[in-house]
Symmetry: C2
Subunit: 478 residues, 2 copies
């Protein structure tokens, strides 16, 4: 594609995206799609001959767009907010257009140094101390994997990295809460721990991991010859935004010589607000933290920030320097590949830099605060409504609810819950996700899409009552 063709199609695409965002409320949040229907509509084989961009865009609109769940829609309350501020789109576009790859500092000094700057800006925005260093990773899961490998190597004195994991008598153990993200188990498995060596610590009322039970479990494990290696705490659990008591957990980690990693992928954005910071008191005592600006904060995916206190340990574990990457500046500069699994990376900091500058810390803070207020307002409405219950502690922007029609409980209630949320989702009016907590299904209202104002939430609440009520009547009639 020539630059002139790019001008033409690029302008059209910018307009398309602007209009998409402008008029997104006219769309159904999602449409029901039969599995395989999109694939069946696409050609089986790649085209031999070049095709016009207009054909590609036409196919995008007719074949793909109906199968898009609109995460940027103000009535999207599913999963978590994955905001992509339009300023961040610009930063990312610039990165793609430049097309450089950060495999070493020399391979692009600007890429490395802007990433260092943006990491430090975010550190300050979150109220973290100056000892923290960091890098942008693909995702929170990857950050957690790197943290677990660092924990493993601190435990082994770097012997496993060299000699492989050896555990004839002393398997290392990883501890986390039942509310932790599924990536904890997955990444510990990848790092060679085995899911048998991941201990799920019970939670206290309110959802925090029970630090006393943690201590007791560690004692039991030590007594039977196992050794504690790492604990993964969560600031804002995926299902219900439960907040672990970092300070209490840090006491245990310190006593037992464990690595403390804090998964604040979604919830970390709230720490822009000083009034939220008591929610992760003790954070300075952690060894590593992940906060993903590509969620609530508004940076385009992928932009997950991993912070670490002992960065020399991290780069010792993760570092490599083959001859084809050796340069005269080695030792004087940061080599981001030594912080990551991949060797190369996009100019990922640009999208964060555009976002932070174009919004300002005040602008970002104001929006995060709006969502926190909206969540509390919705929780009040739900609590005041007969038959409805808020089933989580409102710590952040997610309100977990259950509609309990009279006389309906157990499996029947689970069925009712999953049925009304599915019916509401199929209507296209809003999108919600259900999740299981303590073996019971509930519905998560995850507030925080950029465009979501209070009136969208009011409308959602009316729709929730309508669909749950209608569904309950149908269920009772059946």
């Amino acid at each position: 594609m020539t630059p002139n063709e790019f001008r033409e199609h690029g302008h059209a695409l910018i307009d398309w995206i602007a209009t998409y965002r402008e008029k997104i409320e006219e769309r159904a949040v999602s449409r029901t799609i039969e599995p395989g229907a999109i694939r069946a509509a696409l050609p089986k084989a790649p085209p031999r001959q070049a095709e016009p961009v207009s054909d590609i865009m036409a196919d995008f609109e007719s074949i793909l767009l109906p199968g898009v769940l609109h995460w940027q829609h103000p009535s999207f309350f599913g999963f978590f907010p994955s905001n992509v501020e339009l300023s961040s789109v610009l930063g990312d576009l610039l990165s793609t257009g430049l097309g450089m790859v950060g495999i070493s500092w020399e391979a692009s000094p600007a890429l490395t140094e802007l990433e260092e700057t943006c990491v430090d800006w975010l550190r300050q925005m979150l109220g973290l101390g100056p000892a923290w260093r960091g890098a942008i990773q693909e995702s929170a899961s990857v950050s957690t994997l790197i943290a677990i490998v660092c924990a493993r190597e601190r435990y082994s004195g770097s012997k496993y990295a060299k000699g492989g994991i050896r555990q004839p008598a002393h398997p290392g153990m990883v501890y986390t809460s039942a509310r932790a993200h599924s990536s904890v188990g997955k990444t510990a498995m990848i790092a060679g721990f085995g899911t048998d060596h991941i201990r799920i610590v019970p939670i206290q009322p309110g959802g925090s991991l029970d630090a006393k039970r943690l201590r007791a479990m560690i004692n039991e494990d030590i007594a039977r010859g196992a050794r504690p290696v790492a604990i993964i705490a969560t600031t804002g659990a995926t299902a219900n935004t439960a907040m672990d008591d970092i300070d209490a957990i840090a006491d245990v980690a310190q006593e037992c010589g464990m690595w403390l990693h804090v998964d604040a992928a979604m919830g970390g954005a709230a720490m822009l607000l000083p009034e939220c910071r008591p929610g992760w008191e003790g954070i300075e005592r952690a060894d590593s933290i992940v906060v993903s600006p590509n969620k609530w904060l508004g940076a385009a995916f992928d932009s997950s920030m991993m912070f670490v206190r002992d960065h020399e340990h991290l780069t010792k574990v993760m570092g490599t320097c083959p001859s084809y990457l050796r340069t005269p500046t080695d030792g004087k500069v940061t080599q981001l590949r030594d912080w990551s699994i991949p060797t190369g990376r996009r100019f990922r900091a640009l999208k964060l830099w555009f976002l932070i500058r174009e919004q300002g810390v005040d602008g970002l803070s104001k929006r995060i605060r709006r969502d926190l207020v909206n969540a509390r307002r919705l929780a009040q409405l739900v609590d005041a409504e007969p038959g409805w219950h808020v089933v989580n502690k409102i710590t952040l922007q997610t309100v977990c609810v259950r509609h309990e029609p009279p006389g309906v409980s157990g499996a029947e209630l689970d069925e009712h819950t999953r049925a009304w949320v599915q019916a509401l989702n199929e209507s296209g009016k809003a999108y919600l996700t259900a999740a299981q907590v303590d073996d019971a299904w509930m519905v998560r209202v995850s507030i925080g899409v950029l465009g979501t104002q209070w009136h969208h939430i009011e409308k959602l609440w009316a729709d929730m009552r309508a669909y749950a009520g209608q569904n309950a009547r149908l269920a009772l009639a059946a």
Copy 2:
């Protein structure tokens, strides 16, 4: 940022990128930057108040752009081609603008099914059989990590994933060539093998891993109680594009029950051309392959394609399904998170879809063929020039050269080699990277940037002779 502001700044940015690409030859490929200079020019603290986009772009041009190594410059011959076709920029922009996250099929059916389609298109383009399935990963390193974990779990019968790695008597071994990418050691370390259990197999003349020596090393390891787990072969080694003899290695892998992973991250693009496919004969006997369309082929980073034969094993190892991701379509659809480390992903297939359609398989093939021809032409010129030597077998688009002034050898020659390439790089006229093969430094001319025509290579060749000659004279005079 409002959609209208996005229109305004987006159009300007599209024009900026078009002009950047159009006039890139007017720029020095790189400029010398002092470590820390860019960071020092950026504000230490993030802005509290919103700033105009014009200020951000002005700072980008004045502070960051001088620190950009121009990977898309036709005189960039460093590292490897990391082409970003402008059509791929459009596909990526569309993905960012839509802002969806593929954490499950339901979270975006179009994202999942287009990725399945593009994986299968690429499979066909590379001449691979219909049994291969795949997914797009962040990078080749990540693909190799997943392959190594799959190998580990096939070896352990999924016992390590559950019980952790246990190796009191039988450490599992990973084999690879001295020419393999640094990610092999790093990812095996992450997966718990330990670098002591990575065996570097000697190479044959021409650069292929010596399959007989591999067999002998495995026998020795078995005799001392170790067990072979995986072998990582390379199609197009990073330093010198050496090609392993996949067929001979597959014989050994089969005999010994090992997982065979083929790293064709860069070189795989050549397999678009039927005439190149003898270069990875035996590929159908591999267990996994990685080909990264974000290198030579022209898709924007990140777009690394991992193919696997036993996808049920892969998704069993890598799969998770927490309640908050359960949906009514489970079991009927592909869940891409079960193929990857992260749970979520961008709509990465769009950039590949735009690229393949806008260029057509014929267009892509023609360009790859051009680069292969240019590499052979350059090698002929170098070989014909007194004092110059081609030091690799020209298998793909990289010509490895050494200028050997009379009477200069050993450490002095290494110094000369690194000095002239540094001087040439600092001139901004071209960019090359040096690398060490068999303990001697040489210079890699990695051809294949989208805009690189034969005349750019002729100019490079003149510059190489000038800088190496000048440097040799200075060295001899000193």
